[in-house]
Symmetry: C2
Subunit: 338 residues, 2 copies
């Protein structure tokens, strides 16, 4: 099959690789209808994470079940499915506790930007749609495989409540989805830290009540002013850098929680401030499967439209341009159609 492969820093290609096959009786093979590039794909792309040259890349896709292993009972060939980027049996103690991303049988989609993807623990992982969805809904369904569920997880972890004040640090697709999540959860004030106009527009469409373009100390000061000196009830850290984490703790009011979903890179936590101000930290890899039924309902009922984060759509052959566009921040999020 044709699949996206990574060969070196900023070297993305479309290569012919062996088709994925059923390896375990709980596996399924999904024919990819639509895939996308994740902000975290940019870490290896930029040389921040180690890579194995020639390996496939991409962990977000939706599609049609092509084949299932002998132990798969709940999905069948022909089903249209949402593929959560982390697979889970949905029955182990960690899954039952709502932490499907720490499933004892966890695995991850490893060739999402390709014609086919293997999914482990298919019964536990895959969520079927009701028939084949309208293609107009593909972007929003695709967003559920990672970014929308991850933004939602940040909001859950941060303890967003109706009437509260929420600050979202990061205006990538996850941060924008965090704004949307906070809005659905009833937050009264949602401050999006964003200085890019196209992203500000989506943030506003998703429910942001305030936009703060400043960063660092000035950004913190702006939030202090918006909140009358008190700070935010909940902060969604959707980047993973030291600056983003520092800002998150700076704007959190005493007793608040920072919900973090950006893969941490070079972060050192301000434990002194956490202790003296009782500011907690929660979150991590989103248990996408936990949220899928609820989020799917919100998408199919038209209540949310997270697909708005896709501002560029390319055929698989042009996937390298998709990476470039996201790397250079010319695109927020790129959809790939095999």
């Amino acid at each position: 099959m044709r699949a996206t492969t990574i060969h070196d820093t900023r070297d993305i290609r479309v290569s012919e690789v062996p088709d994925p096959i059923i390896e375990a009786p709980t596996d399924a093979i999904v024919r990819v209808t639509a895939a996308c590039i994740c902000g975290s794909d940019l870490w290896p792309y930029r040389g921040e994470n180690e890579i194995t040259p020639g390996s496939t890349i991409g962990h977000e896709c939706i599609g049609v079940v092509e084949e299932v292993g002998s132990d798969v009972n709940d999905v069948a060939p022909g089903d249209f499915v949402i593929v959560p980027f982390c697979h889970c049996d949905n029955t182990c103690a960690h899954c039952q506790a709502g932490v499907q991303s720490a499933c004892v049988n966890a695995s991850m989609t490893s060739s999402g930007q390709a014609e086919y993807a293997r999914v482990g623990q298919a019964d536990g992982s895959l969520v079927r749609t009701d028939g084949i969805p309208d293609p107009a809904m593909f972007p929003s369904l695709l967003a559920l495989t990672d970014v929308m569920a991850t933004g939602w997880h940040a909001a859950v972890a941060a303890g967003v409540r109706p009437g509260g004040t929420v600050v979202v640090v990061g205006d990538g697709a996850v941060g924008l989805c965090g704004v949307l999540a906070a809005s659905v959860m009833g937050a009264e004030r949602i401050v999006a830290m964003s200085r890019h106009e196209p992203r500000q527009q989506i943030a506003t469409a998703f429910g942001a009540t305030h936009l703060v373009a400043e960063r660092g100390k000035e950004g913190g000061q702006a939030v202090k002013e918006i909140t009358g000196g008190v700070g935010a009830d909940a902060v969604l850290e959707c980047v993973g850098t030291k600056d983003a984490m520092d800002l998150s703790f700076a704007v959190a009011r005493p007793g608040a929680t920072v919900g973090f979903v950006g893969v941490p890179h070079g972060v050192e936590l301000p434990i002194g401030r956490m202790f003296s101000k009782n500011v907690g930290l929660a979150g991590g890899i989103a248990p996408v499967r936990r949220y899928l039924p609820e989020l799917l309902g919100l998408v199919t009922s038209g209540r949310i439209d997270p697909g708005k984060v896709f501002d560029l759509s390319l055929p698989l052959a042009e996937v390298a341009e998709g990476y470039r566009a996201m790397d250079e921040r010319r695109a927020i999020k790129v959809m790939i159609e095999p």
Copy 2:
């Protein structure tokens, strides 16, 4: 008045110092009936924190109101009061959010181990008892000024729930009170990490269902065995050292929260593990005043008896021996009677 003063590492004296006076109209002066030595007093005692030679020390006391400032309305001379170690107006935004330890008018008892103590924001801080309590109840009331409220805070921050499995790291007075808190909150399994027999006995009396004497990797392994490999639903970190924090995260199951109340010294948080396993951290300086009404009710109704943590009682003149006894772990917690 006579007060406990610190002059150098391991140099505790009883000195004649000026009586505290009303400095702000919201102050009260309390004649100390009973005081105690806190585990955190040992940090400066051991030279881990800087000191001002000759300064008073001690922040835990109960007593009788002697004098109040002109703006104090809710307590009056003659009232017997619990003095939370951190003072608060109990009206600011942070107090209203339950984080009285971050009150905008916060201060701290600074001469608790003395004849008199000044209390800031007396109306907000002090909690009156119903008449003068039976002296037999003094130890338990004294425990409410810090250790019991702090152990309770660890349990609240860690999200202890009925039926859950709780691990308490630290068998000092706070850790033991954490065991008691978890028990009152309905935890089904409470693992006390303790290798000192007198402390194990109190832990058991307070509700511990399991005792683990091992530390480090062996301690983590023991908890894994007790929990069938899953880990603890909630962990109470009641020490503040790197080893204690590392152990806390090692025994936390995915999705759990570590409630931390030990003043952090040299701690570095395992952000990679926190992210990959969704283990959160919450807690900090206990908002004692928030919990006092509930805890006072639990003590006066006989439901809890946190005073059991006091295993040595000394007159003020012998306070230096109290510090020695706690430093050398000959005593769990020392009561001082001026």
